[in-house]
Symmetry: C2
Subunit: 498 residues, 2 copies
Amino acid sequence: MTKLEELKTLLKELKDYSTACTLLSWDLHTETPKYGIDTVVSSLTALSTKSFELSVSERAEKIIYALNEPDEYDQLDDVYKKTVRKLKKDFDESKRIPVDFYSSFVENRAKAESVWREAKITNNFALFAPYLEKNINNTIQLYKYMRPEAEPYAAMLDDYEKGMDEASIDRIFNELKTDLIPLVKAILSKPEPDASKFKGDFDINKQKELSHFLLEYIGFDFERGCIAESEHPFTSGTCRNDVRITNHYHKDDLLSAIFSIIHEGGHGLFMQGTDEIYDNTPFSDCGYMGLHESQSRIWENILGRNINFWKPIYHKLQEMFPEYKNISLEEFYIEINHIKNGFVRTESDEVTYCFHIILRYELEKELMSGRLSVNDLPAAWNAKMKEYLGIEPETDTLGVLQDTHWSGGMFGYFPSYLLGSIYDGMLLDKMNEELGDIDTILAEGRAKEITAWLKEKVHRYGGFREPKEVLMAVCGKEVTAEPLIRYFKEKYTKLYNL
Amino acid sequence: MTKLEELKTLLKELKDYSTACTLLSWDLHTETPKYGIDTVVSSLTALSTKSFELSVSERAEKIIYALNEPDEYDQLDDVYKKTVRKLKKDFDESKRIPVDFYSSFVENRAKAESVWREAKITNNFALFAPYLEKNINNTIQLYKYMRPEAEPYAAMLDDYEKGMDEASIDRIFNELKTDLIPLVKAILSKPEPDASKFKGDFDINKQKELSHFLLEYIGFDFERGCIAESEHPFTSGTCRNDVRITNHYHKDDLLSAIFSIIHEGGHGLFMQGTDEIYDNTPFSDCGYMGLHESQSRIWENILGRNINFWKPIYHKLQEMFPEYKNISLEEFYIEINHIKNGFVRTESDEVTYCFHIILRYELEKELMSGRLSVNDLPAAWNAKMKEYLGIEPETDTLGVLQDTHWSGGMFGYFPSYLLGSIYDGMLLDKMNEELGDIDTILAEGRAKEITAWLKEKVHRYGGFREPKEVLMAVCGKEVTAEPLIRYFKEKYTKLYNL
């Protein structure tokens, strides 16, 4: 067997483990009965451990190092060149983490997550504070082990969205702030739309049927994927031919299921659209959170909240849900773009969402640098909410305790959500240029042409190209918030008669 | 670590593999999209192989042999005594199979299954014949390796239903034949009930709701189990706290979903009812097919086709399905006990079902002994159909090719289905004696009391007691078909005015 064949065998073995782990985890969220959870978690833990052991085994080390030698390396194609570079980097980083430290890191993180849940329910930040502090210190230490030469928070940002460093993010987010703070103020000074018509009693089976329809409408292939139900919607999958999407359904709220499924559908299309040359490599699914999020958020917001998206299919909604017979398309359009200064990120509209992220990013940086102490975090959170959205949460449950990320040690993750939207502004410009007027395409029911364009420009590369490379290749320029800001201004100036 | 602790660690590791394999297989039947199948099968194959390798590893050998030594063995409790005996037997048998032979066995079997599917669709027995012949020879050879001292077919029977040997089965099946041949003739000479009212357009979501209701009604615990949809209904599960049941739904046939879910529910109750002392041992789920089948068939037939079962809940059916408003409970009762001499085992009623099994068992014996050649099998099949049910299939698709078992090398499996019903006759007698009149219990909506009795008498032991032991302990006598025959005669004499 050649070294490359040995590598492919190893990757196949790792893939077989990851397939099982993906499906066990999927089952845990969609199907496992209450008292069966321990058994499934035990199996998942055992297989994850075996997979990790294989990835840092002597056998793996030999193969990866052999293929990094010039005589072997130079013979590889681009995909496998990048694969062995990435494997070597990951291998070296893992090897540098002391086993004891890693165990205590994982243990504290698990504990922090469960304490956070308790603290959120009981509105008790003080309970969570010591665990958060430990999580911060541990995560910094972890990165010091893995990448001794890098500044820790910079390394974290790089892990979630390669190439988007603090300086770039600061520049882009500042562009946004300058323009959006007055825009949001202007919008909020206008009369609020009446949302009362949108409450109803929406049959869950019909909501499932609609979810299926919407996924198919944007080009999701049900011979290579499926939908199930879970508390929080998510997308996973074993490979590009087996993409798993979940949705949640509330009897009194149809819009939640609609925009969740369109959002997850965007992730799903990305996964289904990746080229087969990346199968079983680290690039078969894109690991850059911002780029992935750009694909979900472009469907959820820029396309899905465009009135033209609904023109060819709004009658379907009205047929399925009698409540909608009394709601015109225009009223629907106003409600799905209803700007509100709420406390909760996951319930916010596409404009105020930006501030929810900027706030978290700014606080994270302060926490990581030690300039802000954990004890001062709630006050700092509330002050920023006041500054950006003019409101202050009455409880930490609705404030600093609302998200799970920090309890799970995910620092540097938040900015990627907003970077996704910023990429979307750039992609929208380019689509209009290359495909023709997007409003017309949507109005004519040709949504799948947009999917095809995104596949050609973004999806097919999976995680092979870094976000900056993708944007440069597609749009021919550095990442900038200008198109997103322009999109917001044009859309909401009309909608709210500013 | 003591040897027993080592064993428990080993069993836990094997359990973690089997959990994953169970869920991957469940996913393949319920959820995996068409083009994702290869990826899931690859993972399932890899994990099954790893699990098998662990079970025959040197490490396993050392633990199992050490615990079989008197000084260790005598300290074990009954559950672990039997566990190490079983593990040693399985280990020794596996070790005696030459690896090359086993690979070619598995390969031919896989090929035979796919050729059988093709042969069934195209009604071409000649295509399947050589593979069947090879399957027969290979299976005999496999058993000669595993148990050189035993007669192969006897060993196969013993594997599917321990303790029920050819002599016992012959005796019991002959009792049945003597009485049932004239009974079926008498029934079929009567006018056939009119089934036309039972066709309709039955909403699939409502059928799902009804399936859920029926499972709950007989005592299935949804905090320790769930239902999904698959082409052919089946029951599996990772442990007693996570039992997975599937059902199928046909828009034009409600009865199929009803009796399939009650059947699978019986399997599910058995699994949920097993004592926790058997967790992670080979006895945590009963591996005796006849005993398992007795628990599904008692609910499907003896209880589920009793008019009293429906008295408290028939109104529910009528509320859910408007078609049933015009069908009285009595008409429903007649239809669910409609005796027909059809060709297909899986569509047959509880009485003619016996002949479908007896026929297969008699032919299997002849094939295994070499007294019947594969080429003469279709003619022999048709002759027995004529003898027992008075009809001959026009195609092999409806005859000898209908079942998958022989293509999968499962010889000796069929008798266990009928043994299940025979046990049920005995259990029914005992229930009437110990619990009081079963008709009354059912009519009063106390079905769960029967579940509790079955749990106490059968379920709790999982696979720890052999079928003969269970029946002896519960009923105090050897297995006999007399109670089943009596049940048939009493029930159908009334129903058909014989």
